[in-house]
């Protein structure tokens, strides 16, 4: 079979691809929103699912840069091929899958899938790969390595080798991105008498300027454009719920960076508040704003609305919303609007949010000190 370069976002389909195969992959990658391209994709998938196990690494490679629909279609083909192959006692191309996994230029999801396939075919081979995954861009893969490290650290702790355990836990904490692992490790370290700065580990933003309250009668405040959305200058004054209001400093000492509007303003109902902070980025770079909030909210970066959601008191968790953004080098202004509704139940008291800046893996991106803003901008 001839080597074919598809020219699909620079994806080379390698030696396994022939024209029909490449066209089928291209069809899947062309699937869009609202079911566009579904009919053709179903047929293309049938073609790909008849492929040999040797085509799996190429199918994984073709997931690079694909949209979530296309990735799942391609996954569907891989699932069928791998399932049928293993059911018949056949083997998967372990070396090629391993090489794909180890090549971090590929997308994280197909790499994690490659690991899963290796594990299904040869659990021992997969296990041998785990230590090298500690700093992997895939949170799924690095979780495997962290789990292994935790077992080792626990073993040292159980044999009273506290220094050894502490250092392994430190390594594990540095690598961990999943909340459950982070909380477990930090508890172990604290049990061993060590300090853990979870706020910094996650990168929660803790220093803010807040202003409010504005109204949210009948939940109309979510859509209403109050003063801070027009001019967020720190010297500005606005018409608030009961007269003029202005920005005031607010810092949270909550370990998980909770910004609680009830602290400065009291446990009010049917109100809206704003918080803003300046984030100094060392470079122009992609990032994620990760928000947890059980109130209706909107968020702006440098004056541009990123997203908003008018849901109240349905739940809150760290990284509830992952919002891809582009940071610019130097100072970036983040503005958050949080609306409290009329509900009176005990579980509707909260008027708060937590926000952090990180990369796609969940690794915290820290703001440079504000005095560096000018330097960074230059």
């Amino acid at each position: 079979m001839a080597s074919v370069a598809l020219g699909l976002g620079g994806v080379s389909l390698g030696q396994a691809a022939d024209g029909e195969f490449a066209r089928a992959v291209a069809t899947l990658r062309a699937v869009g929103g609202e079911g566009q391209g579904n009919e053709a994709a179903g047929q293309a998938l049938q073609r790909l699912a008849k492929g040999s196990p040797e085509s799996i690494p190429t199918l994984l490679e073709s997931m690079d840069g694909a949209n979530p629909f296309a990735s799942n279609y391609l996954r569907g083909a891989v699932e069928v091929i791998a399932g049928n192959t293993l059911a018949k006692g056949g083997s998967l191309p372990l070396v090629e899958l391993g090489e794909f996994l180890l090549n971090k230029s590929h997308d994280t999801k197909p790499r994690a899938m490659a690991f899963d396939l290796i594990r299904r075919a040869d659990a021992e081979a997969a296990e041998r790969l785990v230590p090298g995954l500690l700093s992997d861009p895939s949170v799924d893969l690095r979780r495997e390595a962290v789990t292994r490290l935790l077992g080792q650290a626990e073993g040292l702790a159980n044999t009273d080798n506290k220094p050894g355990a502490v250092l392994l836990y430190r390594q594990a904490l540095d690598a961990a991105r999943d909340l459950d692992q982070i909380q477990r490790i930090s508890a172990e370290l604290r049990e061993l008498g060590r300090k853990v700065d979870l706020t910094r580990h996650f990168g929660f933003l803790i220093d803010w300027e807040v202003v409010g309250p504005f109204h949210n009668k009948g939940r109309a405040g979510f859509a209403e454009v109050f003063g801070p959305e027009k001019d967020a200058g720190l010297g500005a004054e606005y018409a608030g719920l009961e007269g003029k209001v202005g920005w005031k400093k607010y810092s949270t000492d909550d370990e998980y960076g909770m910004v609680d509007f009830n602290e400065p303003y009291g446990a009010l109902k049917e109100v809206t508040g704003y918080a803003q902070t300046e984030f100094i980025s060392a470079s122009d770079r992609p990032a994620e704003l990760r928000l947890g909030c059980k109130n209706a909210w909107k968020i702006w970066l440098n004056g541009e609305l990123v997203f908003g959601r008018d849901e109240y008191h349905r739940g809150m968790r760290i990284d509830q919303y992952k919002l891809p953004v582009q940071l610019r080098k130097g100072a970036n202004t983040i503005l958050v609007k949080a609306c409290q509704n009329e509900q009176k139940e005990e579980w509707t008291v909260q008027w708060q949010f937590q926000l952090r800046v990180c990369d796609a893996t969940g690794t915290a991106i820290h703001s440079l000190p504000k005095k560096n803003a000018e330097v960074a901008a230059k």
Partner: protein, 404 residues
């Protein structure tokens, strides 16, 4: 063993569905009734657990049964971001195939529920599975993906931080996805062959976990009855247009029960509506504040309507008047809905306790109990002389047959 009644009811349904199959939420007619006879009554784990199979992920969706195959969804992975669809051999519980997809929407949900909350639906040839993340997959019965949708990718504010749970329903060739939440709330009618939108209508901006009811008149014309806090909207499945509206509000967790031309709506307790033959009207026959369905949906069997409240009290009332005839305290709480087969009601508590109520007893009588030892929140499936029920970790077949 099965009676022949349901064959008549299914005559206008999909060609690949046969009497005895369990094809969607609360069965082929969405009413929790089965024609099966001879199911075990005095339950015993030793005698009646035909098989128990481990599941790779969590879930509270109901299993479906088509002939000798059982289909069930689950969600796995640390972040519940692996959406799983499994096909098992009904005879021995072995896994015939398993497919796993990446989540595209939100996995956030209340700790008691999971991403695999809604029950799939099948027309006998294709399987349609939706998850709390609003990711929707259509597979053939051999596990080949035919099409998919990511409804939260398409409509980014269509999500619920407590989780979504409305199950899919089929009305002819239209697959109806009810995606109702506080923000971007809608119902879409999808082409079941391609997954494309045939129509999409705005719905009340309020969280809703109910499942629609499909009404088929004698001529085979179908109507989809959407339940929400705003009552019942009857829509034409071809166009999404509202044909009538009962506007007096309704619950957002238990779903309505349809029996002939009577619709029993969890509204102000329970409200009985007689649906007009013209498909455009309805008449309220009675309302009872003493019948208050909790999480479990009401069920109609014979001339009785049954309602299970959040305290675990099963109430039986006359379908014509709503007058309460008796009540019976069961061991709750209940996250799933009951089913009835051969004059016996089967219900599984969240504690994993199966309970069998003899509905022919003058005031109902619990005649069987069996502890499965795991939290169960699904409504059981009934097919081919067996019950199928799942937890977050396992799926069971319960029948008179011991292990094959």
């Amino acid at each position: 063993m099965k009676r022949q009644l349901m064959i008549v009811a299914l005559a206008g349904s999909a060609a690949g569905v046969f009497a005895g199959d369990w094809t969607g939420f609360r069965g082929p007619l969405g009413n929790g009734l089965s024609d099966e006879v001879g199911l075990p009554v005095k339950l015993s784990a030793e005698k009646h657990v035909a098989w128990k199979t481990a599941l790779p992920g969590k879930g509270l969706s109901s299993p479906l049964v088509l002939g000798d195959r059982v289909f069930v969804t689950a969600s796995g992975g640390t972040r519940q971001d692996r959406l799983q669809i499994l096909c098992l051999n009904a005879a021995d519980g072995s896994v015939i195939w398993k497919r796993q997809f990446w989540v595209m929407g939100s996995t956030m949900c209340h700790k008691k529920t999971s991403v695999a909350a809604p029950t799939p639906v099948t027309d006998g040839k294709l399987l349609f599975a939706i998850f709390s993340s609003n990711d929707l997959f259509c597979l053939d019965l051999d596990g080949n993906l035919k099409w998919l949708r990511g409804l939260t990718v398409d409509y980014p504010n269509a999500r619920n931080s407590l989780g979504m749970a409305s199950s899919l329903v089929l009305a002819g060739d239209v697959l109806v996805a009810q995606v109702e939440n506080d923000s971007e709330s809608f119902v879409a009618g999808l082409n079941k062959t391609t997954g494309g939108n045939l129509w999409k209508i705005d719905r009340p901006k309020s969280a809703n976990w109910t499942t629609a009811t499909v009404r088929r008149d004698k001529a085979g014309k179908e109507q989809v009855l959407l339940q929400s806090g705003k009552g019942i909207h009857a829509i034409n499945p071809a166009s999404g247009k509202v044909e009538w509206h009962y506007a007096d509000g309704a619950a957002t967790i238990p779903s309505s029960a349809l029996a002939g031309d009577m619709l029993f709506v969890p509204s102000h307790g329970l409200t009985a509506l007689k649906l007009g033959a013209d498909g455009k009207s309805f008449e309220q026959k009675w309302r009872s504040g003493r019948l208050r369905p909790g999480t479990a949906s009401p069920l109609v069997h014979g001339r009785k309507v049954y309602s299970l409240n959040n305290a675990g009290v099963l109430a039986c009332a006359d379908v014509d008047s709503g007058n309460r005839l008796w009540q019976l305290r069961l061991d709750g709480p209940f996250g799933g809905s009951p089913v009835v087969a051969d004059n016996h009601m089967y219900i599984f508590s969240e504690e994993g306790l199966a309970q069998v109520v003899d509905l022919t007893a003058p005031e109902g009588n619990v005649v069987g109990k069996m502890d499965l030892g795991e939290m169960i929140q699904c409504s059981p499936a009934v097919s081919n002389g067996a019950l199928f029920v799942r937890s977050n970790g396992h799926i069971w077949k319960i029948s008179r047959k011991t292990r094959l």
